[in-house]
């Protein structure tokens, strides 16, 4: 394992890999600091720039961007009470009160250092869990892989926007999109009304449409943003070491919470930060400060939401299963460079996962330096006029879609999915299951057909294998338990209104 880690470290002998890491961290901060943009959109927008890059450079850049964008969301939350990402909401509860008290610099400092600690500790956990998990997964057969993919999809769908049925619909929509193109086993064209569709729907233009162009339409809807008052950055370098030392157990606890919540498909950084915040409040000696500018509140939220970045990379690297929209987009980026995540990755391309581990560790000092040194600049980023951001995002998305194959077909796809994404979001249908199903659809179908082929069409093969039976049972529970809860709540409400 240590030898492989040296392979990862060796990748940084190429200066371009280090440049990729720094560029990713800078762009991630920039994207995270702008309210409305976030890691998913940031990675989708950056993929077109990586087409001609070396795979390692592009992967390191995207990983650094993911981590930095997760932190960047806290900047606008602390300064403007408008979190850049959902995961930074809990940070805002204490960060903005500190800004109102004239302690913006302290709030930013604690959030930056906590983010760094979260990533550092959780990457150690990633290192010690992803490798054994990938070794265990080498024994998985087609039925276990089918069950695993289904579990990932069911968890994401049941976690999304409170409606299980809408999650199921979004999942079905994504799976339907995944079936477009030549059937991988028989070569029969499916739902392909033009030869351009034979290779399936191009993933990057679909991502750019659903995430970036739909967001452009939401920005147009929101209109021009108002100028924000500049906050003084006093105290950004004046937080004593003992402030952090006092919170050592909080950092450890929040990193563990963030990491393990991040591993669960669909749970993600925001749930991790909320749980960590609530636990920190319970253990705090001064719980009354929470919501009024507690240092512990900021530290708990930021440590956990950044730790979840490493957590979400665990199923992606070890099993090839994305646990969130952001990691689904990451899978798309890896596939473009001919890298197939999953258990075999650790044996066929060990330089990829181990470089990811090392880049996460190396991103910590870089992120802390960029965050502290550029605090004034990041504060101004949140003030870029919204119509200008809309124009930039639309231009990069459309030209990025064109650049994927140097033809107009992906541009039409991106545009179409921009409108589709806007309508789906207006109807409260979540986009994350659509993307996850689109990415996992092929894996789900291929493994189902393989499993049935091996068993001569006997469907019980899916439940006679103990591993796949367990995974399918968890998938069914995760899907139907929330529905049962909602049904009970509705019945209770109905009874209450009729008595």
């Amino acid at each position: 394992m240590i030898d492989n880690l040296l392979i990862g470290l060796n990748a940084f002998a190429d200066p371009m890999v280090l440049v990729g890491l720094i560029a990713g961290a800078l762009i991630g901060y920039l994207i995270g600091a702008i309210p409305g943009l976030g890691p998913s959109l940031g990675i989708a927008l950056m993929i077109p720039f990586t087409y001609s890059m070396d795979p390692l450079v592009s992967i390191v850049m995207l990983v650094a961007l993911f981590a930095a964008a997760e932190y960047g969301g806290a900047i606008s939350g602390i300064l403007l009470n408008s979190p850049g990402t959902a995961a930074a909401v809990a940070t805002t509860w204490d960060g903005y009160p500190l800004t109102k008290q004239g302690r913006t610099g302290i709030a930013l400092n604690i959030s930056i250092i906590s983010s760094g600690i979260g990533i550092f500790v959780s990457t150690i956990l990633l290192f010690f869990t992803a490798v054994p998990l990938s070794e265990y997964a080498l024994n998985f057969g087609p039925s276990a892989y089918f069950a695993l993919a289904l579990l990932g999809l069911s968890l994401v769908s049941s976690f999304s926007s409170g409606s299980m049925l809408k999650g199921a619909l979004a999942m079905g929509f994504g799976l339907a999109l995944a079936t477009v193109g030549l059937d991988s086993q028989t070569g029969v064209p499916r739902f392909s009304y033009h030869p351009d569709f034979f290779e399936g729907l191009p993933l990057v233009p679909v991502l750019l449409g659903l995430f970036a162009l739909s967001e452009v339409l939401f920005m147009i809807e929101a209109g021009a943003s108002h100028k924000v008052k500049n906050q003084p950055m006093s105290g950004i370098l004046e937080v004593p070491f003992k402030t952090f030392y006092k919170m050592k157990y909080l950092f450890l606890r929040s990193s563990l919470i963030g990491y393990f919540v991040g591993v669960i498909p669909g749970a993600g950084a925001s749930i991790g930060s909320f749980i960590s915040y609530a636990v920190a409040k319970r253990f705090s000696k001064r719980p009354e400060l929470f919501g009024n500018g507690s240092y512990e509140g900021i530290a708990a939220s930021e440590t956990a939401n950044n730790a979840s970045v490493s957590g979400s990379l665990s199923p992606l690297l070890a099993l090839g299963i994305p646990g969130s929209a952001t990691t689904a987009i990451m899978i798309g980026a890896l596939m473009i460079h001919g890298v197939q995540p999953g258990p075999l990755l650790f044996t066929t391309n060990p330089e990829i996962p181990y470089t990811v581990f090392v880049s996460l560790w190396l991103s910590v000092p870089i992120m802390v330096f960029i965050g502290l040194a550029g605090a004034r600049f990041w504060a101004k980023v949140a003030d870029i006029p919204r119509p200008a951001i809309a124009a930039i995002v639309a231009s990069i998305s459309l030209i990025g879609a064109y650049a994927s194959t140097s033809s107009m077909f992906p541009v039409y796809v991106a545009l179409t999915f921009g409108v589709v994404g806007y309508v789906l979001r207006k109807a409260n249908i979540p986009l994350a299951p659509v993307i996850l199903a689109l990415v996992l659809g092929d894996m789900l179908e291929t493994n189902l057909r393989r499993a049935l082929s091996i068993s001569n069409g006997d469907v019980t093969t899916l439940i006679t294998n103990p591993l796949s039976a367990t995974l399918l049972a968890i998938a069914a529970l995760s899907f139907f338990l929330p529905a049962l809860g909602m049904f009970r709540k509705k019945v209770k409400g109905y009874r209450a209104t009729n008595t």
Binding site: I220, G223, A391, S395, Y402, V411, R449, S453
Partner: protein, 166 residues
């Protein structure tokens, strides 16, 4: 459906808000998706149902069509039966609907005309129009950002990344 004046702070720009009952918007989306699912299932039925590997090209799409069909039917039933807990829950607001629609048209028009007008002019024109539609009225920004953005994109994609545009 109704239209009201949403932006009282900027009376010079009549920014309307389209207010739609959430139930009707959702039902419209569900029925469109139901029709699409029916077409999808119909096409799936025409695919070979059996192959040497056991399950044919139609098997998985039919499963997907069933999942979507059942979800949609249940959602339609739930939509008809459910009552919103508050008045605000039952409404969906689309602010500046004309600008949103025009933005879609601008993007489509620029994409269709891109090969004719060229990358730099196309992007600059689209950026200018989107910024204007987004509510930006400062000409200093409207006249500087679009050409800079177009040149920047040209420099990165064409000169650095080697993307070829006709």
């Amino acid at each position: 459906m109704s239209i009201k004046n949403a932006d009282a702070e900027a009376p010079e720009v009549a920014n309307k808000t389209l207010v739609i009952r959430k139930k009707w918007l959702e039902l419209a989306v569900y029925f469109v998706l139901l029709a699409a699912t029916a077409l999808y299932a119909n096409d799936a039925l025409k695919l070979p149902s059996y192959s040497s590997s056991g399950i044919g090209a139609s098997g998985f799409p039919l499963l997907v069509a069933t999942l979507m069909g059942v979800s949609l039917l249940l959602l339609i039933v739930v939509s008809f039966l459910s009552k919103p807990s508050q008045e605000s829950d039952s409404l969906v607001e689309i602010s500046r609907p004309a600008q949103v629609l025009l933005s879609m048209m601008v993007m489509a028009a620029v994409v269709l005309a891109l090969e004719w007008v060229g990358l730099i002019v196309g992007i600059a024109l689209m950026a200018f129009l989107l910024m204007k539609l987004g509510g930006e009225n400062r000409y200093s920004l409207l006249l500087t950002l679009p050409p800079l953005l177009a040149l920047g994109i040209y420099a990165i994609f064409v000169l650095v990344l080697g993307v070829y545009f006709d």
